[in-house]
């Protein structure tokens, strides 16, 4: 297998809530080869964002608690490096794009200040040189008239343009790993298409690897090489995008694919929803957390969490029945 940029082994993120422990991430293992895109898919509360926050040291401790075997980024264990080292990595070699650019950008600072700050703190170059680089990056992410726009504040940008600013900011230091957390969820479809195309092009250009966190299976299909499906804090299935969409093994993955209305499907065909709702992370059922909604559940599903079965290079499923 090609060289891995990120390899996470048995990661846990727990939160103490009102005397109980909420297992937001409960033993997650994922890996990402260099230059590729891994999509982490799951519904709200499945732990997909928390996994990334855990790795990047963005979980407040306490009330949170992050532990695990390892989270190797380019050979370095992110779970064991110092806070100072992590701060150096974040924004430089690892960058993040958040869902909502309005809350992720500082409304009081001009775009110029926010962009140059990144370069000044990580690269130690002068403000003037940083401005030139920031301008160049704004041009590359397709912001028209960057010389004028750079001195404006975030509220003067539309949603799509703001997301471009976020992307410019994330890519300024040419990160080896880009974590995009629902980067297009807040955007309209035509703008989403623009932003996804931009991300794909820049990724090829800079040779970055990307983790794409999303709940939109359509976005996954068009942009990911590998997919990890999460449910109740665990990865239930891993594989290439083709494997996941064409031969899903886990009943949850199968259920997800059957419940999405498709633009290209015959009309008013009954959708097949997954019954019930995701479990409360403080009161996970015994054994497999999906068994309460699973049509194939057997007695052994309640007894213990299914072993993760390896079916091939990067192909795994955690289900007794599948």
């Amino acid at each position: 297998m090609s060289e891995l940029i990120l390899e996470v082994k048995d990661l846990h993120v727990h939160y103490a809530v009102e005397g109980a422990v909420s297992k937001a991430v409960d033993g997650v293992s994922i890996s990402l080869p260099k230059g590729k895109t891994l999509a982490v898919v799951g519904e709200s509360g499945s732990g997909k964002s928390q996994t990334m926050y855990g790795i990047l040291g963005l979980v407040p401790q306490p009330p949170g608690k992050v532990f695990g075997e390892a989270a190797l980024f380019d050979g370095e264990d992110l779970l064991r490096v110092s806070e100072k080292k992590l701060r150096q990595l974040r924004g430089d070699r690892i960058a993040m794009i958040f869902q909502d650019p309005m809350t992720a950008l500082n409304p009081f600072l001009t775009v110029e200040r926010q962009l140059t700050e990144v370069l000044e703190s990580h690269k130690g170059i002068s403000r003037k040189a940083a401005r030139a680089e920031a301008l160049e990056m704004l041009r590359r992410v397709g912001i028209p008239d960057p010389e004028r726009r750079i001195d404006q504040h975030p509220h003067q940008f539309s949603g799509g343009m703001r997301q471009r600013v976020m992307i410019a900011m994330a890519l300024l230091c040419r990160p080896a790993l880009l974590v995009a957390d629902e980067p297009t969820t807040a955007l309209d479809v035509t703008i989403q298409a623009q932003i996804l195309e931009l991300l794909r092009n820049l990724q090829t250009e800079l040779g970055s690897s990307m983790i794409l966190i999303t709940h939109d299976l359509g976005v996954v299909a068009g942009n990911a090489d590998y997919v990890a499906v999460m449910y109740a804090g665990r990865v239930v299935e891993r594989g290439t995008a083709d494997q996941i969409f064409e031969a899903p093994l886990h009943p949850y993955t199968q259920g997800l694919l059957a419940s999405v209305p498709r633009l290209d499907a015959a009309q008013k065909e009954q959708l097949v929803p997954i019954p019930g709702q995701p479990p409360d992370p403080t009161q996970l059922p015994s054994g497999c957390p999906f068994r309460t909604r699973c049509s194939k559940a057997e007695d052994r599903c309640a007894a213990a969490y299914p072993e993760v079965r390896r079916l091939g290079e990067g192909r795994e499923v955690a289900c007794w029945v599948a």
Binding site: G222, L263, L271
Partner: protein, 379 residues
Amino acid sequence: MLGRVNREGEERLEGEIQSSGASAAERGAAPRPPAGAVPRATGARATSPAGPLLDVRGLEVHFPVFKGSFFRRRSGEVRAVDGVSFHVDRGETLGLVGESGCGKSTTGRALMRLVEATAGTVDFGGDDLLALRGEKLRRKRRDLQMIFQDPYGSLDPRMTVLDIVAEPLRAHGFPQGEIQSKVKEILDLCGMNPRYIRRYPHEFSGGQRQRVAIARALALRPSFVVCDEAVSALDVSIRAQILNLLVSLQRELSLTYLFIAHDLAAVRHISDRIAVMYLGKIVELSPADEIYRRPSHPYTQALISAVPLPDPKAETQRRRVVLQGDVPSPLNPPSGCRFHTRCPLFQKLDAAGQARCKGEEPLLRVLGDGRHAACHFAE
């Protein structure tokens, strides 16, 4: 003749068409279509036996914009909805799609009289909804209900499920003794356990809350329901549950829906016909299948091609029309066809064609097979 009427059995009073045509002409802002060409959005169901339940003509909602604080003066207006006409047949679902700010929600709200329309008529069972006042309006409202996007914001956190669903019944003078059984019955229909009537909204998940919101909307047995992004806030597996619920309720209670959403796949799934809006106008109105198979308006084509499909093979083979730029401000919409500033077709036209798009506003015209598009060059 005024308004091409192409539905069989359509026997509309000539005078009514005249009057709405005339008022549209009176309103006539600068580059308006010649009088008498009020687009009549008729649809696929040429032989619908039931006929339209709701008939919207020339609906406009303009919001004034003010400048200054002390010497406040009107500096312009946002034309959120700018001359929209369509009908919804009995038992039908009409989808209304478009991007943020296109006026789809404002259209739904204007029908419900949650915002006041600036112009237009909405015929609903013989009455003009926009002209009703006082008690008559209140009584009419029983028949029209709305389901909102956010089941967290649309339910009062201090009311129990019983109170929430009973509120419309009480407001319309249902006998006190029957209310509880009525509430239980409707909750059961919506897939909620009637034992939960003493609970509060925070005790439920998003999907269950949306069921409560649907139960409240249906408590008075309305004939027409506006679903404004009713499934957009829900997770994938729950969204399918609610979509299925809406479809089965429609059959059981013979409901008519106006289904407003930005999610084209969900809209196509549930709708019989779909109207596509752009900057306050309907640019295309066609049967749901046709809109996916052969979108006629360049904007619809771009919109369809931008929706990602959950299928990696299909994704790599698709040709994508990526639109340039953002939607222009509705404060100052482009002249002529409002889409011409971003239109991929416009760029390929010769000078004469481009001049036409810039100067003349295209009307919604019939293209056959129930398809309608507001584009000079659509086929």
